[in-house]
Symmetry: C2
Subunit: 409 residues, 2 copies
């Protein structure tokens, strides 16, 4: 019996631990492996042999990890150098993998992480190694290609829509005109911001305006969009991506460099920038709200569809590897039809890494200030289902954090 | 049989609707009233006779309103002028109350709202009216006197502690030093910010630093507090009240006025201000997170203890009024002992309105950068219990919004 290694990398999502649980469960179920090593802090944990053993985690612990935020194993932002640039490093990694009798490596992450695991896979092939390398997808940004949607996106979309719904109630109570700008994550892709449209219901059309980074942002058009709405309502709520750019490609947020008291330039975010524009041009009450890191951390409000798919992708990664595959990432393919369902297939890592998927132009309205029904139909099923969270003393009872023990946090 | 009026006023909380449900249920149970009028947008709705009838709401609807955010009846920021300044306005209000055969008025709100209902009560007494006036307390700020804690505070405290816990997980994943500043509501009182301490558990001491507006803020001390922590951990998380002031009483946030591209001065918040200070002085990664209006709007994460007490305060207001009382606010008194419980009594509105309750000095540590166990013991029971929320299409199924119909939102 051989062993496997699993690691997590990149920014956290609330689904990344469900994928970890999927890998662990898949490996245990197969009965083909002796030890399941978790490398702490991504590839860094492999290079420094910073491993913990995961095969002993019981059902209760796995269930708690499944629904806990961020990364059970910690993360890293380290990107492996090109294969030909530092062969010594790759040699070192393979020497470690062989010494630990590793037959498969599972790397859970987003775009940069897929790059790392692709490089390892390429080097392994060149070396004639039979170790198998699999990427397991996650990113709230939903910008990986080939996969219908990425784990983490559904839960973030659910939190965004839910927050927008609660903001709709909160902002609706007064009779005086007011504009609220809600800034949502997404530097290049508008998937998260588009999900704000799910907050609309029979009582409210909030957010009435949605601006994605896929469309060049025109501040004059924006002001006139808001003005038009103020003719028919007192309460205008705008969803805006942090990554909106003007027609020259410059981030809107970078247009408002300001000096702090220590003499250093700082950048305002897109939301703050639009807040200032509304206040100064329309002379009415305006506030901006940045959903910030809760978008990717609010595990208490996760989508069950999302976590279940994330777990299944982890399990599938193990079974595809056991079938002899390497250099792949398990993907979700949506089955056409009225009822949402997905099938699981394999994508080639070499085709996926370092590519980016944007919201298609036809899912954004002509005016560039809203999304279409197609976009809403795409994201709606991904937020379905709530995850049962255990509470203790009034707060979610999340997992222990083993990676902290080693890094003195 | 006479009628009653109930209204909501001031900023929203997630508990203000539970108090409304308490008034409605109390009134229905008593069998003493014919109609239960809801005035839309607070006292403005009384003055403009903008009423809806509430006695027909069934159990299902009341249960949905109980757990919905913001104000079923809308709100206002209007403060009644002094009684002697505009007797015509008061005459008008009493003429309306009499015409609608109102025997009791219930006004759900915070400090400013207690001022309004106090004035009506004073004027009524002078007029020899037998209409009874009751304030029903709510404010996330927890700054009303006489009452052990205010409805809305427990739910906001729970959301803040939960968010802090999720931020603790999110920020712990990397091995590089990073400081995170979390800005929490509270201009004058630190109750909300203090609740962040509840996030600490056996795995994490986050937030390691807590700064309340009750203590003069010293930015040099703050920087050295952070520096000390960075010697033993990579991940420093700070909870800071939006209202921190320096020793001259100036809001820290006002120290960093910056010019936007339109040439208008704008103020950075306290969190942003500290973020800039850490970046410029310590040259390390730092980000700020503003919990913003979700603190008072996130009904999906409400405290059951809070909502149940809010409802009971509404019911008590009705029964005290039926006993012949006026000019009062029902209050909670905590029963001393190891097990949390409260009894309900009456407070005098004239003694409560326009006064403010701060966190006592002895509940803040000597250094002024944390809270004591007494503070934690005070707030801990207030966040207990979760409220069952119905979900539809992946989102909370909140109440309809009747006040929107009248204001064209």
């Amino acid at each position: 019996m051989s062993n496997i290694i699993v690691a997590q990398s990149g920014g956290p999502t609330v689904a990344i631990n469900a994928s970890l649980v999927g890998v662990i469960k898949g490996a245990k179920k197969s009965g083909k492996f002796d030890k399941i090593y978790g490398a702490l802090h991504g590839i860094n944990g492999v290079i420094s042999e910073n491993f913990i053993e995961l095969q002993g985690l019981d059902e209760d612990k796995l269930s708690c990890i499944y629904s806990s935020p961020a990364c059970y194993l910690g993360s890293c932002r380290y990107k492996m150098p090109p294969v030909d640039e530092d062969t010594k490093l790759y040699e070192k990694v393979f020497e470690i993998l062989e010494r630990y009798d590793i037959s498969s490596v599972f790397y859970i992450g987003g775009n940069d992480s897929m790059d790392t695991i692709t490089k390892l896979s390429v080097y392994g092939e060149r070396r004639g190694s039979d170790i198998r390398f699999a990427g397991v997808p996650k990113t709230i940004d939903n910008d990986l290609i080939q996969i219908d949607h990425t784990p983490g996106y559904g839960s973030a979309a659910k939190f965004i829509a839910q927050s927008m719904l609660e903001i709709a109630y909160d902002t609706a109570i007064y009779e005086v005109p007011c504009v609220t700008i809600v800034e949502i994550m997404g530097r290049n892709a508008g998937w998260l911001t588009a999900a704000a449209a799910l907050a609309r219901n029979e009582y409210s059309q909030i957010p009435q305006l949605i601006y994605l980074p896929e469309i060049a942002f025109d501040i004059d058009r924006f002001i006139s969009d808001v003005e038009e709405l103020l003719k028919v309502t007192n309460n205008v709520v705008v969803a805006v991506s942090e990554g909106i750019k003007d027609s020259s490609g410059a981030y809107l947020s970078a247009q408002t460099a300001a000096n702090d008291k220590f003499g250093h330039a700082q950048l305002s975010g897109a939301g703050k920038c639009l807040e200032m524009a509304v206040k100064s041009r329309l002379k009415i009450k305006c506030r901006s709200v940045e959903l910030n890191i809760l978008q990717r951390a609010a595990a208490h409000a996760a989508s069950k569809t999302d976590l279940d798919e994330a777990q299944m992708l982890g399990e599938k990664a193990v079974s595809y590897a056991l079938e002899g595959n390497s250099g792949f990432m398990p993907i979700l393919k949506r089955v056409p039809g009225d009822v949402y369902s997905c099938i699981y297939e394999m994508g080639k890592l070499s085709e996926i890494a370092n590519k980016e998927k944007n919201v298609p132009r036809e899912w954004i309205n002509e005016a560039g200030n809203d999304v279409t029904q197609d976009m809403i139909d795409y994201v709606q099923p991904l937020i379905l289902g709530e995850v049962k969270i255990e509470y203790k003393n009034g707060l979610p009872s999340y997992m222990e954090i083993p990676h902290l023990v080693t890094s003195r946090n």
